[in-house]
């Protein structure tokens, strides 16, 4: 890939997410008090403020909510929101396949792209 992926800033609160990503697993946070999933992951549930949140392995599949390709040639990349099958929508990149054919509603699955000196970063590719 032409574009260098900046290293994510890992905090204690999110270390498990990035460790899992580096091992090829996508985690998502769920609240055991209200049952809702959320993203970005955090200790406190943004839907009910409970601290009873737990990490769950995501299915790793989702649907493109929006996407936009920016830049030319090798420097082009696609920013996207992907709605995970678990419910939350996350900011990400679409990679692989033909960028001209990325579109809203497309089914995608997670892939992991190395970052510069940090853990791998979850991105999505057409199913």
């Amino acid at each position: 890939m032409a574009r260098k992926i900046p290293k994510p800033m890992v905090q204690a609160e999110t270390a498990a997410y990035w460790q899992a990503a580096d091992a090829g697993r996508l985690l998502v946070k769920r609240c055991t008090a209200c049952g809702e999933f959320h993203h970005y992951p955090r200790d406190i549930c943004p839907h009910c403020l409970s601290d009873a949140t737990e990490w769950v392995d995501a299915a790793g599949t989702g649907t493109v909510y929006a996407c936009s390709t920016m830049g030319q040639g090798e420097a082009a990349y696609t920013l996207a929101y992907v709605t995970l099958d678990e419910g939350p929508t996350m900011l990400t990149n679409l990679v692989g396949g033909d960028a001209a054919r990325y579109q809203i509603g497309q089914k995608v699955r997670v892939v992991f792209t190395p970052s510069e000196g940090g853990p791998a970063v979850p991105m999505f590719t057409p199913v």
Binding site: P8, H39, C45, A66, T69, M70, A80, N93
Partner: protein, 407 residues
């Protein structure tokens, strides 16, 4: 407490500079403060409240207060990006109503264009890098805040202002059938107004074809869907109505205010509406009027899609009908139902410090005083609205709405 009638805007000044090569950021703040004081017919020593946001250098209120020699009893550095000055007007009205100050100064200024040129010059002077390619200009941007948790989940993906707003445009097109040609009408309207503004950066009248045939920046937004980048700034003076009535200026009364942030909502992303859907109704309720009564609107035009979203969210048309609302000159003064950004707006005139909120209020004041360019002046303009979207529409932003009446 309602802020309706609690304060008036008595001074407004827009810096004429679009490229501040030889002016410091503080000098720009000082220039606009002096301009607004002169416009109001007040002096520096009348100011007892000061409002600024993240564009003010150093410690903000204290740094600017020292440079200008202000003696203050109320300060507010509410930071919410480009919408900040619109919120500052409301906060100044609240402070005046609470007896905490009588005359409030609001300033916004910056020199991103000059800073970019300086960075490019430094990179060119440094010569090629180790790989033999020309070095990239290193802009002195603030490093990402390690305590800002959401950034870890955004920065690796390369979000920019352009591609975040582009996703909003794409989603709007998907859900409502909005077209690039409809978005282009917003730029066309702004360019029709800018031709009469000698200070505007882009004064050429453009067509829908010009916009949709300009280079793609981030699909589906073209170069002409984006605002300009400019140095400069602007200032406002808000005063107690008793003081305002003693000044020899038309009275521009604050009638309605509203503000609200919208963010990622834990992953419940919905790009089809903005925080203006919250700030707008509150402002209209406080003012006691409806959108149909607004004769002129200053809408934050960072991109064409930003304007479309505000038109819908503020209630000028139904959700999804913004495209039809702006078509065929709907926003052109003298032609359409709702004249907007008659100074040329951020799309054609200026976007100082990459934060356009203050210019939105300034042109609304000009319209209400009857001081806009005769070619774009709205006849008997009594009610005006200014709305700001600060931050980024697709991630997190704050909307501020202001309704003003000429009395």
């Amino acid at each position: 407490m309602s802020l309706n009638g609690k304060a008036a805007i008595v001074g407004a000044y827009e810096h004429p500079t679009r490229n501040a090569e030889n002016l410091s950021v503080l000098r720009l703040h000082a220039d606009v403060a002096k301009g607004a004081l002169a416009d109001a017919g007040l002096t520096r020593d009348d100011i007892d409240g000061y409002f600024c946001a993240g564009d003010a250098p150093g410690l903000g209120s204290a740094t600017v207060a020292e440079y200008l020699g202000l003696k203050l009893r109320h300060v507010d550095s509410t930071e919410c990006g480009g919408s900040a000055p619109i919120l500052h007007v409301a906060h100044a009205a609240a402070a005046i109503a609470a007896g905490r100050c009588n005359v409030a100064l609001i300033t916004l200024a910056g020199r991103p264009r000059a800073a970019m040129a300086e960075a490019q010059a430094r990179a060119a002077a440094a010569g090629p890098g180790k790989d033999g390619k020309p070095a990239k200009p290193a802009l002195a941007l603030r490093p990402p805040d390690p305590d800002c948790p959401e950034l870890a989940f955004e920065l690796p993906y390369g979000p920019s202002t352009q591609n975040l707003y582009a996703m909003v445009a794409q989603r709007h097109m998907h859900e409502f059938g909005t077209t690039s040609e409809q978005l282009a009408w917003i730029k066309v309207a702004a360019s029709h107004h800018a031709q009469h503004n000698p200070n505007a950066m882009l004064r050429k009248v453009v067509t829908v074809d010009d916009v949709v045939n300009s280079p793609m920046v981030s699909d589906p937004l073209h170069r002409l869907d984006c605002c300009v980048m400019s140095d400069g700034g602007g200032a406002l003076i808000v005063a107690r109505p008793e003081i305002a009535r003693q000044l020899k200026r038309p009275l521009v009364m604050v009638r309605g205010t509203g503000e609200a942030p919208k963010h990622g909502m834990g992953g419940r992303i919905d790009l089809t509406w903005s925080a203006a859907a919250w700030s707008g109704p509150r402002a209209f309720e406080e003012a006691g009027i409806t959108p149909a009564q607004i004769q002129y609107a200053s809408l934050y035009d960072s991109f064409t899609i930003t304007v479309l979203m505000q038109l819908e969210d503020l209630g000028f048309c139904k959700k999804g009908e913004g495209g039809r609302f702006v078509m065929d000159g709907g926003l052109i003064s003298g032609v359409g139902r709702l004249p907007f950004n008659t100074d040329g707006g951020g799309l054609c005139n200026n976007h100082p410090a990459n934060r356009g909120g203050v210019t939105k209020v300034i042109e609304a004041v000009r319209q209400l005083r009857g001081e806009a360019h005769p070619a774009v002046q709205v006849r008997d303009c009594t009610w005006a609205l200014a709305n700001g979207i600060g931050g980024a529409l697709a991630s997190r932003h704050t909307a501020g709405t202001l309704i003003l009446e000429r009395v």
